[in-house]
Symmetry: D3
C-alpha cells in the first residue's frame, strides 16, 4: 500500500462523507420543534452517551393511588429517539398495582420481566382482549386502542413497553375526564356517568 | 392532421395506458383485506357511481340514548375511500344530543352545518379545549385525542366530520368499558369508578 | 383519600406530563418551516381559539371570471392543521359558476351543502368520472388527479372540501399556463393549443 | 471447525431465515392488487432476472404527434419495483420533440443523456421554472407539479427519469381534456378555452 | 332505562360496528402477502391468544459458533404484529457470545435484562458508537446502520430488542458474504479481503 | 374582457396564492435541520437554478483504491431534493473498478450508461442476486440490502443511481469496519475475520 493509494482512499472517504451527519437526529430540546419532532443536535457534538439511556436502572416505589410507577423514555427524556420512530417505557406495579385505561397515537408491545399481570385492550367493537401474562410473555396493543395492565400476582411486577413513535403520547382516560379542566357537567353528558360519581372522582383529583 | 399522425397518437395512448388503472383502488369487500385496506375492485368495472356516496341525504331521527344519529362513510360503507386515506361521517343531534367521548386513529375536522354545539378535545396533559361552534365553523381534533360534541342550541344540529384515514376507527369510551365483555371488576380497577357506578352502567348496556 | 395519596397522584401527573406538548403542533408562521410544515407554536400559548376557524362563516360574492369564491383553510390560514395532515376549503358558486380544472398533492372529498353541481375527475387513462350531485352528496377525487366542479343548478351553490394534507396545494391548469411567466411559445408546444388561442388566454390574464 | 459447530451455524441460519422472503415483493400481476401495490410473487420462484429490466435498450422512433417516445418502467412493466417506492422511464425526443404538460403523484428527477432540452415545471403560484439542460444535468420536478420537456437542440435527445413511487401515474393535460370522454362543453367551462379550439383539439384525438 | 332506549342503544351499536374489524390485521400466512404485509385473518376468528406471544419464555442454549441464540418475534412468528409496524426479538449470549455485525430496514432499541454487554453501531462516517451496558440500560440503533452486541460480562447475558417494523429484516454481514451463493472472487473485490481469508470463511460456512 | 373582470381574476389569484410557497422546500443548509431534512430556503429567493444540478457533467478520474469515482447528489449537495424523497449519484468505474459492498436506508435503481458491469445485492437469506448489465439496463436494489457493482468490461464504465430518499445514507461495509474508530478486537469478534486480516485492512486505512 503506497502513499498515493492511501491518499486516494482518503479522497474517497472525503467525497463520501457529505451526507453522513444525517444518519440520526438526536433532538435538541432548546430549539423550536416541528411536526416530526425536535431539530437535530449538531452531529459534531453527539457522543455514544447520547444513544444510551440509563434511567431505567434500579428499583421503583409504587405508592401512588394506582400503586404503579411509570418511567417514560420518550424523545423528551431520551432525545436519541427523536426522528427514529421508536420509544420505550418502564412500568412498575406494586401489589394490586394498575396502569389505568389509556391510549397512545401508536402501537405498543409489552414485555413482562417480573411478576404476573393481566393485560388487555378493547377494540372499536367493544370486545376486550385480555390475558394473564407471565415473565417473558409479550402482548401487542394496536394503534390508538384503549388498553390497561393489572398486577394479579402475589409479588410486585415489572414490564417494559416499546412503542413505534418517538413521542407516542399517553392519554389516561380517568385523568382526562377528572384531573384537568373539563367541566363536570360536560363529563357527565359525554360519559353517562352520574353527577355524584363525577363529583367523587373530581374530588380525588382536586378539581371538584 | 393526417391518418399516420393519428395512428401515432393512439400508439402513444396505448403505451402510456399501462399504469392507468392504479389511480384509485375502490375496495372489493369480498376479497381478503390487508393492513392498508381492501383489495381493489377490477378497474374495468368501476363507474362514476363508485366515487359518489348519497347516504348522507335526507333527515335523521335522533331517538337513541344519546339523542344522536351517526352515519359513517368509512371505507366499508363507501369503498371509493379505500387506499385514499380520507373518510367522512354525518352527525345529527336532537335537542341536548351528544356524541359521547371517543377517539380515532386519525385526526378529524368538524364542520357545523345546522345549530350550535360545543365541541372539544382533551390533550395528554388533561387540558380540555372546548368551544361553542356556530354554522360554518370548523374545529380540528388531533390524532387519537379524546373528543366530544354536545348540542347546546335550541334546535337540532347537524355536523359533518372528515378524517384523514379510510378506516379511522371509532372507539367510544363508555361503550368500550360497559357495552362489551370487559369484566366489571377490571373496569373498576382501571378507571377508579365505584362498583355501584360500574354496575349501573353495565345495566344500561345489558351487560351486568 | 388522604393527603399522601393525592400527593402521589400529582407525582404521577407530573411524571406523565413530559411528552404532553406534542399532541399537536399549531404552526408558528414566523419561524422557518421544514419539509413537513411549520415549526410549532409554544404549547404554553396555545388556546382553544387556535383549534377553531371561523373564516367559513357568512355569505360570499362570486363575481370573478369563474363566478366562484374559494376560501382556503389550509395550514397557512388555519395553523392548527399544521402537522395533522388534514385541511378544508369552502367553494361558492354563482349561477353557472365553476371551479376550473385543477389538482392537489392529496386526495379530496367534496360535500354539497347548497345547490346542484356537476363534479368530476379525469384519471390517467383520460376517463372522466363526473356526476350531478345534490345536497348531502359526497364525491372523492383521488390524489393528484385533475378535477373540477360546475354549478348546473338554478341557484347559487356551496360546497366544502376536505383534503388529507395540511398544505395540499392548488394548481389551476389554465392559470398555470396563462397567468404566470410561462412563455407562450412553450405553452403552445406542450399543449397543442394554437398560437391564437394561447395569445387570447394570456390576454385575459394580462400576460400576453 | 468441527461438525457440531457447523451444525449450530446452520441451526442459526435456519432460525434466522424466518423473515427472509420479505426483503422484496416482486409483483404478481395475476393476483388482486391492494392500495399499496400488487401481491408478491412467491419468493421461491424469484430469480435475478426479476430485478433487471432490459426494456430501455436500443434505439427509439419518435414519429408520433409530439415527436417523442416514452418507455415506462413502472411496476406494471417491471414488477420488481412493486412495493419499493421507485420507478423509471426513458424519454426519447425527435427534432423539436416534446413531452407535453403532465403530472405524477410523486416527485421526479430527470437526467439528460443525449442532446439539449428545455425542462420546466410550474408551481401553484403559476411561476414557471424552466432551463436549458445539457448532457449530465439533472432537474427535479416536485410532487404533483405540472411539468414538461422540449428538445431545443439540433439533434434527437434522450433522457431518463426516476420517480419515487412504483406506480407514479402519468396524467397528460391535453389528453385528459381532449382524448377521452370529457364532454366538450365541460372542457370549455373548466379551462376558458373557446368552443372552436376545444373542437379542433377533440378532432385531433378523434373524440369530437 | 326503558326498553325503547335500550333498543336505540343497540341500534347505535349496530350502526357503529361497521368499521370495527379494522382495528388490527392479524396476518393470515396462508394467503398471498402484499408490500405492506400479510392479508388479515378473518376478525371473527381472532381471539386474545392471537395477540400474545409466549415464545420468549424459558432458558436458551447458546452453543453455536457465535455462542448466541436469537429468537425472532417478527410477523412471521407472531402474526399479530402484521400491519402494526412493530416487532421484537430475544437475544441470548453465552460467555463471550456475540450477535455479529448486522442491519435491519428499521430502527431498533435494545434492553439489557441480564448480564453486561458492549453494544454499538457504526454510522455512514465510519464512526463507531459503542458502550458497556448494564441491566436496565437501553440503546438505540438508527435505521439501517450496522450494529452488534458482545457479551463482555462474566455470566451469560440476555437482551430484548424492539424494532419499528413488523418484518424489519435481519442481514448478517459475514453470512451475507460467505454463507450463501456469492462467488468468492466477487466477495474479495467488493471487500478488499484476501483470497485466503475469503476461502477460510467460506469453508466455515461450507460454501468454499 | 373588461377591467372589472381582470380585477376579479387577480383577486382570485391573490386568494389562491396563500399556500403556494409550500410546493417545494429547497434546503437551507445554514439552519438547524429536523428529522425530515433541512428547513426551507425562503421561497422568494428560490430560482430555477435551485432545481438544476450540473455537478454530474464532464469526465471523472478513477484512481483510488477501488478504481472508482462517486459523485453524490444527495440533499447536501443538491438542496432542491430536500423534502422530496429522491436523490441521485453518478458512479464511474476504471478498468476493474468496483463500488464496494454497501447499503442505504432506501431502495435504489441503477442505470448503465457506459460499459458493462456486474451488479448485485444479497438478501436476508444470504442469496446473492447478481447479473451482467449492458448499456440501458436497470436493476433495483431493495431497501437496506447490501449491494455492489463491479466493472467487468474492457472499458471504463459509468452508471447513475436514483434513490427514494433525499439523504439515503451510504454505508460502505469495509470502511465501516476498518476505516474508522471501531477497535480491531471488536471487528474480529463480530465478523469472524482473523486478527491478521483485520490488522492488514486497518493498515490499508491507516487505523491499525
Amino acid at each position: 500500500m503506497n502513499t498515493l493509494s492511501v491518499f486516494f482512499i482518503f479522497s474517497l472517504l472525503a467525497s463520501l462523507s457529505i451526507a453522513l451527519e444525517h444518519d440520526f437526529c438526536v433532538g435538541d430540546l432548546s430549539l423550536p420543534r416541528g411536526p416530526e419532532g425536535y431539530a437535530c443536535k449538531d452531529p459534531a457534538t453527539v457522543t455514544t452517551d447520547d444513544f444510551v439511556y440509563t434511567g431505567f436502572r434500579g428499583e421503583r416505589t409504587t405508592s401512588n393511588i394506582f400503586a404503579n410507577n411509570v418511567t417514560l423514555a420518550f424523545a423528551d427524556a431520551f432525545p436519541a429517539f427523536n426522528g427514529l420512530g421508536i420509544s420505550m417505557a418502564r412500568l412498575d406495579f406494586g401489589l394490586g398495582g394498575v396502569i389505568p385505561l389509556h391510549s397512545h397515537r401508536t402501537s405498543e408491545v409489552i414485555l413482562i420481566v417480573k411478576g404476573t399481570i393481566i393485560a388487555g385492550f378493547i377494540d372499536s367493537n367493544n370486545i376486550a382482549y385480555y390475558k394473564r401474562l407471565e415473565v417473558g410473555d409479550i402482548m401487542v396493543f394496536p394503534q390508538a386502542m384503549l388498553h390497561f395492565q393489572v398486577n394479579v400476582g402475589e409479588t410486585p411486577a415489572t414490564a417494559f413497553v416499546s412503542l413505534n413513535g418517538a413521542n407516542p403520547g399517553l392519554q389516561l382516560t380517568t385523568l382526562s375526564l377528572f384531573a384537568g379542566n373539563l367541566p363536570g357537567d360536560i363529563a357527565e353528558k359525554i360519559t353517562l356517568l352520574s353527577h355524584k360519581e363525577v363529583t367523587r372522582l373530581k374530588r380525588i383529583f382536586g378539581t371538584a
